[in-house]
C-alpha cells in the first residue's frame, strides 16, 4: 500500500441523519403521520391542554342557545351596567344585557370566521401553491407577481378598504379575509413543494411513469402535510385577530351583529369608568383562544418534525 495511493473504505448503505445515530435506514419518503406523530403530540402538554380548552370553548359558544343563562338580546334597562355578580358572572352592559351570554354568542361569530377563513385560504392556497411550485414557470411567475403586489400593501388597510366596498356581513368578511390569507398559504406551500420537488424519490416516481398530478397528490403533498397543517392552525389565530382588529376599528362586524372584537369596540368608551370590566372579558376570550391555537400549532409542528425545534 503506497502512500501515493489514497484508498477509501467503501461506506455501507446510506446512514441516518447524524453521525451519532447510525444504523437508521433512509426514511421511507412517503410516510404519513402514523403512530410516532400521535405519541409526540400527546407528549406536548401545552398542545393537549390547548386542544381541550379549544374544544370546550367552541362547544360552549355553539351551545349558547342551550347553555347561556339569558337571551342574547335580553335587556334589563332597570339594572343598567353592573359589574360581575352572582346573577351575572361577567356583569352587564349599559342596556342590562348579560355579558357572559353576549360573549358566548359573539364567540360563535369570531370562531366561525376564524375557522372558515383558515380552511378556505388553506384549501385555495394549497392548490395554487402546489401547482405553482410543481409546474413552475408561468403559473409560478403569475403567483409570485400577484402575491408580491398584495404583500406590498398593508394588510389591515386593504382589508378595511375591501370591507367598506363589499359589505360587512359574515360571509363577506370570511371571503375578504380568505382572499388575502390564501396568498400567504400559497407562498409557504410553494416553497415546501419546491424543496420536496428536488428530492430523488420524485425523480424516481417520474422515471417510472407517474403523471404530474399523481405525483403531487401521492408524493409531494403528503410530505408537505406538516407545514400546511401547522400553517392552517396558525391561520385560525391570525384570522381571529384580524377580524377582531377590523371589528374594533369599526370596519368589520357591525351592530347589531356582534363578535369579540365588536364588543371591545363598544367597550372602548368605558376606559377609566366603573364599567371598565366590559373590556376585560372579550379581550380575555380572544387572548385565550389565540394562545390555545398557537400552542396547538406549536405542538403540531413538533409532532410533525421534532428536528425542526
Amino acid at each position: 500500500m503506497s502512500s501515493r495511493h489514497p484508498t477509501v473504505v467503501p461506506e455501507p448503505e446510506p446512514l441516518g441523519p447524524s453521525e451519532l445515530l447510525p444504523g437508521l435506514a433512509v426514511d421511507d419518503p412517503y410516510r404519513p403521520p402514523g403512530q410516532r406523530f400521535w405519541r409526540r403530540l400527546r407528549r406536548h402538554r401545552p398542545a393537549v391542554v390547548s386542544a381541550v380548552v379549544l374544544v370546550v370553548l367552541a362547544a360552549a359558544c355553539f351551545a349558547a342557545p342551550v347553555l347561556a343563562p339569558y337571551g342574547p338580546d335580553q335587556q334589563n334597562l332597570a339594572l343598567g351596567a353592573v359589574g360581575p355578580s352572582l346573577h351575572h358572572w361577567f356583569g352587564t352592559d349599559e342596556l342590562g344585557r348579560d355579558e357572559l351570554t353576549r360573549l358566548l354568542y359573539a364567540g360563535q361569530i369570531s370562531l366561525e370566521i376564524g375557522l372558515a377563513v383558515a380552511l378556505l385560504s388553506t384549501l385555495v392556497g394549497t392548490i395554487v401553491g402546489a401547482a405553482a411550485g410543481y409546474v413552475g414557470r408561468a403559473t409560478d411567475q403569475a403567483l409570485m407577481r400577484v402575491t408580491d403586489l398584495f404583500l406590498v400593501l398593508p394588510g389591515i388597510a386593504v382589508l378595511a378598504l375591501a370591507l367598506e366596498k363589499f359589505g360587512h356581513d359574515r360571509l363577506t368578511i370570511i371571503l375578504v379575509l380568505a382572499a388575502l390569507f390564501w396568498m400567504y398559504v400559497a407562498r409557504v406551500v410553494r416553497a415546501q413543494v419546491l424543496a420536496v420537488k428536488e428530492q430523488e424519490y420524485i425523480e424516481a416516481a417520474r422515471a417510472s411513469g407517474a403523471s404530474g398530478p399523481w405525483i403531487v397528490w401521492r408524493h409531494v403533498l403528503p410530505n408537505c402535510v406538516g407545514p400546511i397543517v401547522v400553517n392552517a392552525t396558525l391561520a385560525v389565530a391570525a384570522a381571529i385577530i384580524a377580524e377582531s382588529a377590523l371589528s374594533f376599528l369599526g370596519f368589520g362586524v357591525q351592530l347589531p351583529a356582534t363578535s369579540w372584537g365588536r364588543m371591545l369596540a363598544d367597550a372602548e368608551g368605558y376606559v377609566g369608568t366603573s364599567q371598565a370590566y366590559l373590556l376585560y372579558f372579550p379581550g380575555l376570550a380572544i387572548l385565550l383562544t389565540v394562545l390555545a391555537v398557537n400552542f396547538l400549532g406549536d405542538g403540531l409542528r413538533d409532532a410533525f418534525d421534532p428536528r425542526s425545534r
Binding site: 502512500s3 489514497p6 473504505v9 467503501p10 451519532l20 445515530l21
Partner: protein
Amino acid sequence: MTGPLLAVEHLSVEFPTDDGVLHAVDDLSFEVGEHEVLGVVGESGSGKTVTALAILGLLPPRAQIRGSVRFRGAELLERPERDLERLRGDDLAIVFQDALAAFNPVLTVGDQVDEAIAVHHPEIRGPSRRDRVLALLDLVGIPDPASRADQYPHQYSGGMRQRAMLAMALANDPALLIADEPTTALDVTLQAQVFDVLERIRERTGTAVLLITHDLGVIAGLADRVVVLYAGRRVETAPVDTLFAASRHPYTLGLLASLPRLDHRARGTPLFRIEGQPPSLVHRPTGCAFHPRCPFRAVPEPCATLVPPELEVGAAHSSACHRVDALADVTPASLRAAAG
C-alpha cells in the same frame, strides 16, 4: 516528563436519547507519545469524533463521560472551563472535517487565524501577529498569503480551506494535533494535497498527531501506530506495518479486503464488502458488537454472549476477538477469495 503525551483510559461516553441510551464510546483506552502519529480507524458512528471532542471537553452537557483523559499527566475531564480554554488551541489543537462549516463565514480567514494567536499570546502585537499568520498560511501551502488572508472562507477552494484550518490549529505550535477526518470531505487530488501538508508539518515541527479517519491510505502513509474502533470499542491495535500485513481481527481484515484493487489480477473479481450494517449504538448486539457481520463467529458461545477481551497477539499488537487463534493464517486476499 515521563509517560505518554496523551493517555486515554477506560473512556466511556453515553448520550440519553428518546429510544434509550446511546453508547458512543465504550471503555476505550489508548496513548499517544510525543512526536508520534496514532491513527484511529473506524466507520462513521464508531465513536471517533466523540472521542476527539471528549478529549477537548467540547461535548454537550447531556453527554455522560466516564474514565480518564490525561494530557502531560494532568487529568482533563472535569477540569474547569478556564483551564481547558488555555490548553485548547495552544498545546492541544484540533482540525475538523468540514472546513466550510468550521470557519466563521463573516470573518476573514486571516482574522480567524490571528485570533488563535491573539487569544493565547496577547503579548504579541498586531504587526508581528500578522507576520506569523502569513507564515502559517505559507507553511500549509496557500499561495499569495498576503491577499488570501483578507479573504473570506467561502472564497477559498475546498482544499485550501482545509489547509487554512490546519494553519489555524498549528498557530501556537501544539504538542498534539487531533485531525478529525482531515481528508474525508475532499476529492482524491485534494486529499493528496492535505496529505502532503500533514507530512511536511510532521517533518518540520514534529507535532504528535492523533489522526482520525476511515481512509486507510492516509493511515498507511502517516501513522506510526493504529487503533481500530468498532461500535465505540477498540477492537485492534498495532504498529501500522503489522496492521496491514498481519491483522488479526475480522473487522480490520474485512476493511482491508474491501479496498478496491486496481491491479490486473483483480480484474473481473467482485468487490468485497463486509456483510450487514453498522450496529445501532442504542441497541447494541450482545457480546461482540461485530459478531452479526463476522464470517468467523462462533455462536452462540462465546461471540454472541461475551464481549471479547483484548488479547496480545504480537509485539505491541493486540486484538479483541474470541477467534483470534483461528485468524492466524487469514489475510485480506484469502477473505476475498472465500467470498468471491
